[in-house]
């Protein structure tokens, strides 16, 4: 195990380069470039805030902020998972010719996603101040929640990035799945809206507690549910191990399948 960690540390420069390549590639050809990191969430927010309060009749003081504080973290999860399906397939060229620890690919996706999310957090803070809700010390929990969310996301990315090599459809299928997943997570609504007999199944969704935690520190301005976070930390770490093992198993035939 430690040999692997040592190897990954040795490859940190390559990890850095991969993350940079993600950023360079993402906005290189677009006109607005890096600004999309900011504008994208803003536009989404606008659309949802205009449409949903009328359709769902949700009683919230400030639906816009309610939505925003959950939507941005959700986007980190969704876009990272979506990108991870194509990261190994997309790097097929160099994978077939050079050796490097392949797991760096999904790891670089999660890291660049997290950095992108942190940039969007600036927007959240500005919005909180403007809307009058303000910021409390509870936001200091942000790095902790982010870390837990990243661990869970990484576990999923390990599995998906490797599986997509063998079943290319996953790349398209996962987008539909993520749409559904978002509706099964209290991003657009509160947990109270769910009939009690289903509520307990909702908690099986890792993103439920994560999104609640973010909403707690941003919108409700309370501490996150520490017990839930602790449970998901443990589950996340176990998940990463399992995901990693699956990745390593599937990795063996990468060069031949691509």
């Amino acid at each position: 195990m430690f040999k692997k960690m040592k190897e990954l540390y040795m490859y940190r420069q390559f990890l850095k380069t991969s993350v940079k390549k993600e950023f360079r590639g993402k906005y290189k050809k677009s006109f607005l470039g890096v600004l999309w990191s900011f504008i994208n969430p803003l536009l989404q927010l606008l659309v949802y805030a205009l449409v949903f309060p009328f359709i769902l009749k949700i009683q919230e003081d400030n639906y816009v902020m309610f939505l925003f504080s959950a939507l941005i973290p959700w986007n980190f999860f969704a876009t990272t998972v979506s990108q991870s399906t194509s990261v190994v397939v997309g790097n097929g060229g160099i994978l077939k010719k050079v050796y490097f620890p392949r797991e760096i690919l999904p790891i670089s996706i999660v890291i660049s996603g997290a950095i992108n999310f942190l940039v969007s957090c600036i927007i959240i803070f500005i919005a909180l101040i403007i809307s009058g809700i303000g910021i409390t010390a509870n936001v200091l929990w942000l790095p902790v929640i982010l870390l837990i969310q990243s661990i869970i996301t990484l576990a999923i990315c390990f599995v998906l990035s490797a599986l997509t090599v063998y079943i290319r459809d996953l790349e398209y299928f996962i987008n539909v799945l993520l749409q559904l997943w978002m509706y099964l997570t209290p991003v657009l609504y509160t947990m109270e809206l769910i009939p009690p007999q289903f509520a307990k199944f909702f908690y099986l969704n890792p993103m439920v507690q994560i999104v609640n935690a973010y909403r707690n520190i941003f919108y409700y301005q309370t501490m996150p549910d520490l017990k839930a976070l602790a449970i998901w930390t443990v589950l996340g770490i176990i998940g990463v191990f399992i995901g990693y093992v699956i990745f390593k198993k599937l990795e063996k035939r990468f060069a031949e399948e691509l």
Partner: protein, 246 residues
């Protein structure tokens, strides 16, 4: 008694086959509908290979095209994995298997040095300290800022070789790409490999240049039809090989 501790590349009972698909199905739809499509032919490329290479050895790997030389190098590099057996490698290994492998065509030569060296595992500081040596050896100073897709194959090779010898690898695996360089650079590479040999590095070289093999390599392994046909002193093996080929 073999001195086990000295072995840097240990190939144990390795077999490798490839499935040559006539028309590969890699989506769900294709697998469901055209289930007959996965018609393939199994090509056994390597059969039960046993090779132990000790530290500091310079080994030539010869054989006709298709005998499994490149596959063996790829297995040692861990780009592909054996179907049976295992390969243990001790120490840092770098390989030059394909022209332009690990090069990003739109990046400049300079950027590719960083990219390539970081794929190998070097940190930015380490690359910085070696940058001069690499550019110097490649003789590509005037072109180093141009994107590598404008490079000729000889230039690719020069850059690849300069990087490969400057990353402090203990083991160098080189496939047949050296022949792409002009005589001047080939001699330069040859001399450099002699130097590395004196420093105790392990070199495995796939070559069709039997003269070079004889001069540089003490040991030659002859692969034929996926098995080790002969493995021993270069003079002996190469003479047999020439006899067979004529």
């Amino acid at each position: 008694m073999k001195k086990k501790s000295n072995i840097v590349i240990d190939v144990k009972n390795v077999s490798k086959h490839f499935n040559v698909y006539y028309d590969k199905a890699n989506t769900l739809k294709e697998r469901a509908i055209f289930w007959k499509r996965n018609n393939h032919e199994v090509r056994q490329v390597l059969k039960d290979i046993n090779v132990q290479i000790k530290a500091g050895e310079t080994v030539a790997l010869i054989g006709i095209n298709g005998s499994g030389k490149s596959t063996l190098l790829k297995l040692m590099t861990k780009i592909i994995y054996p179907n049976e057996g295992e390969i243990e490698v001790k120490g840092k290994l770098t390989s030059m298997l394909e022209l332009g492998a690990g090069f990003h065509p739109d990046f400049s030569g300079m950027e590719n040095i960083y990219f390539n060296a970081s794929i190998f595992g070097l940190s930015k500081k380490e690359i910085d300290s070696r940058l001069e040596d690499i550019i110097e050896f490649s003789e590509l100073r005037d072109y180093i800022d141009n994107p590598v897709r404008t490079y000729s194959s000889g230039m690719y090779m020069r850059l690849a070789f300069s990087i490969a010898i400057n990353v402090d690898a203990d083991i160098l695996l080189i496939d047949e790409i050296l022949s792409v360089g002009d005589k001047h650079f080939q001699d330069k590479c040859f001399n450099k490999m002699q130097e590395l040999k004196k420093e105790g590095k392990t070199i495995v070289l796939v070559t069709h240049d039997l003269g070079a093999a004889k001069r540089l390599c003490d040991r030659t392994i002859w692969l034929s039809n996926g098995v080790v046909r002969m493995d021993g002193k270069s003079d002996k093996v190469l003479d047999e090989y020439v006899k067979e080929c004529s």
